[in-house]
């Protein structure tokens, strides 16, 4: 379903989803050609969680994210070219090339820290929330993490701290393992987490928790809005699990694009290789959103095609910018590690 928002906002949500998708797809050939090295993780398939969720926040709220952070930063409005330059380790990167894909941050957007350690951010998120409460500045913290994070003891410790102190923090767990593609098993259980459904864990700590479909932008928007309101009213932490189906391009350790995205796929996936077709047909949140926009007469197919063209142009420019950006001077490594 579509979020209950004016048309302009809906189109902007759609545009951000396109930005994320084409940004992420552009990384794969850059990595395969060796333009950057190291491990990296794409947000494809989770756009309808991050984009509407983050749109519910105030500009001064805090966000924490993980190894799978690109989509969150872009959803919040980070410049693709500077994020890309960071991933390529260049001087114009968001963090001057010191962080890379795992650690891209943008403090002006509320992203203070992004950790590649599973669950590393969950305790940290109770800290910004604690500070906001102490300083009475009304700033909320959203902690975005994967389902695997709940397996680390850091998560329950942080839930306990958040619950006891009624901290203003939203735990938004993106479970990209629906249908067992990831760590979860189809039959309502998981091979790696006995506390399943995952919402059982925060509930044990008396944190209100709900499970929603993360492909449903409208549901994500409504659920997050409501949770954010409760937190702002002082009701303490909230937990949302948003389930998505793992993008077939990330089933291996090194991503590959089964089929380049184009909005026309929303109406015809016959060109997609068999193995990946079902995902693009029914699980791709971007294509679902595009269809819903057209069906609700909020946009025509042409509107979307032209929006997508613009985005592709922007991403192409970002790639050009990032590839042209110089590496930092080697000696920069010895500087700026203490404030």
């Amino acid at each position: 379903m579509l979020p209950k928002l004016p048309r302009d906002n809906l189109l902007e949500l759609c545009r951000r989803m396109f930005v994320i998708r084409h940004f992420e797809e552009s990384l794969v050939p850059l990595h395969d050609k060796g333009v950057f090295g190291g491990h990296y993780h794409l947000y494809i398939g989770q756009e309808a969680t991050g984009v509407p969720a983050i749109s519910c926040l105030r500009s001064d709220d805090y966000l924490f994210t993980t190894h799978r952070n690109h989509g969150h930063l872009l959803a919040r409005g980070a410049e693709p070219k500077r994020l890309l330059a960071e991933i390529l380790g260049r001087a114009d990167g968001l963090n001057k090339g010191k962080g890379g894909s795992f650690h891209s941050v943008a403090p002006t957007l509320g992203f203070l820290h992004s950790s590649g350690v599973v669950a590393g951010i969950i305790p940290l998120s109770t800290g910004t929330a604690y500070a906001s409460k102490a300083l009475k500045n009304g700033r909320l913290t959203v902690c975005l993490f994967g389902d695997g994070s709940l397996e680390e003891g850091a998560a329950p410790e942080a839930f306990n701290l958040a619950s006891l102190n009624k901290l203003p923090v939203l735990f938004l767990c993106e479970n990209n393992g629906k249908y067992g593609a990831g760590r979860a098993v189809a039959a309502g259980q998981s091979s790696s987490m006995a506390a399943y459904p995952l919402t059982d864990l925060p509930k044990a700590y008396k944190i209100p928790a709900q499970l929603i479909d993360g492909i449903d932008a409208g549901l994500v928007h409504a659920t997050v809005s409501e949770a954010v309101e409760k937190i702002r009213r002082g009701e303490g932490p909230q937990f949302i699990e948003a389930q998505t189906v793992r993008w077939p391009g990330s089933e291996t350790n090194w991503p590959s694009v089964p089929h380049p995205t184009d909005s026309s796929l929303a109406w015809d996936v016959s060109g997609v290789q068999e193995k990946a077709r079902e995902w693009y047909r029914s699980c791709d949140p971007l294509l679902v959103f595009a269809r819903e926009l057209v069906e609700a007469n909020q946009a025509t197919k042409d509107d979307l095609a032209s929006m997508e063209r613009q985005v592709k142009t922007e991403i192409a420019a970002a790639v050009e910018f990032a590839v042209a950006s110089p590496y930092p001077k080697p000696e920069e490594a010895e500087r700026n590690f203490f404030a």
Binding site: H103, V105, T128, G153, L161
Partner: protein, 323 residues
């Protein structure tokens, strides 16, 4: 000049810090350990209760909380109590707090202080006698302060809280009752400035924390044998004041390093290595380390005493150095 007990100086520092800066919060509250004086800490709770938090037994969680709070503008001092409990929080301290500023390209500041009591305390056995400062010195991105006197604990604690970097504050329960001069309105002690705790011309004896006090006693005894020891206390490991040490070595040409961390990759190892690298030509004899022996700390009192940097081991090392 005014004399205070170490615990009083530390308490005074906390009190003045809390009064001066509303952003300072205390997370957990065993800053005076289980000492008989711990009740004075209750006075802080009366004045600043709304900035003190008593967390669950979740060191990983509450060190993360403190680190996150620092990122958002508070200046938390988080108490780990016994040194080895910081192991529970290792991922937050060594992988998050230490790296955040650098990884963000110099954008995210983390002005948090991690406070702990290290070392041999009498009956702490293997799990309650840890001195994690050597491991933490191997983790770039952390500042490390380690006082040895009433005046230093006050002055260094103020600087630790004022620092924009994550700082490990390494204390020792065996110092709490020590008395010493603490001027009223004393200035904060800058990091990276070693202190010559006793001047001498024959041997440079470098020590930290409670071992400084052991060295001072050893120096008195050695003086009676005609050996004049210069006791140098770096006071902070990060930043480290190598210059003061080298100029002492220039004078004495002999080095003994005494420290309570375990020997291998310990604090004395790093100091020895730096001198072997940069002061080699000044040395007349080999460097000697008096560290805690490389065994898990045994419980039994004579065994515990045997492995630590005792006065007798220090005296032996100094004597050997001048022999």
């Amino acid at each position: 000049m005014r004399e205070l007990a170490y615990y009083e100086a530390k308490f005074e520092a906390l009190d003045e810090i809390m009064a001066a800066d509303q952003r300072v919060h205390l997370i957990n509250g065993t800053f005076l350990s289980l000492s008989p004086h711990r009740h004075v800490f209750q006075n802080l709770a009366k004045k600043y209760g709304d900035r003190m938090m008593s967390p669950p037994i979740s060191e990983l969680g509450f060190c993360g909380l403190a680190t996150g709070a620092a990122m958002a503008g508070l200046r938390p001092i988080v108490d780990l109590s016994t040194g080895s409990f910081i192991y529970e929080a290792w991922p937050q301290v060594a992988n998050e707090a230490a790296n955040a500023y650098s990884m963000s390209g110099g954008q995210t500041r983390v002005p948090v202080v991690f406070h702990l009591f290290h070392g041999l305390r009498g009956g702490g056995a293997a799990q309650h006698s840890g001195s994690p400062q050597a491991m933490l010195w191997n983790c770039p991105g952390l500042e490390i302060a380690i006082p040895s006197s009433p005046r230093d604990v006050k002055g260094l604690l103020k600087t630790a809280v004022a620092s924009d970097n994550p700082t490990i504050f390494v204390d020792h329960v065996r110092l709490l009752d020590l008395r010493g001069e603490v001027p009223e309105n004393d200035k904060p002690i800058p990091f990276g400035v070693a202190d010559i705790k006793r001047a001498g011309s024959d041997v440079t004896l470098i020590a930290t924390s409670h071992t400084v006090q052991v060295c001072l006693k050893a120096a008195e005894k050695l003086a009676k044998e005609g050996i004049e020891v210069e006791v140098v206390d770096p006071r902070t490991l990060v930043p480290f004041d190598l210059a003061t040490i080298l100029s002492s070595v220039e004078k004495t040409r002999r080095v003994v390093i005494a420290d309570e961390t375990h020997q291998s990759c310990g604090v004395a190892a790093e100091i020895a290595a730096r001198i072997a690298e940069t002061g080699f030509d000044k040395l007349k004899t080999r460097i000697r380390r008096v560290s805690t022996l490389d065994v898990p700390v045994p419980y039994s009192p004579p065994l515990e005493a045997h492995i630590g940097p005792s006065e007798s081991r220090i005296i032996d090392a100094v004597r050997a150095s001048v022999a």
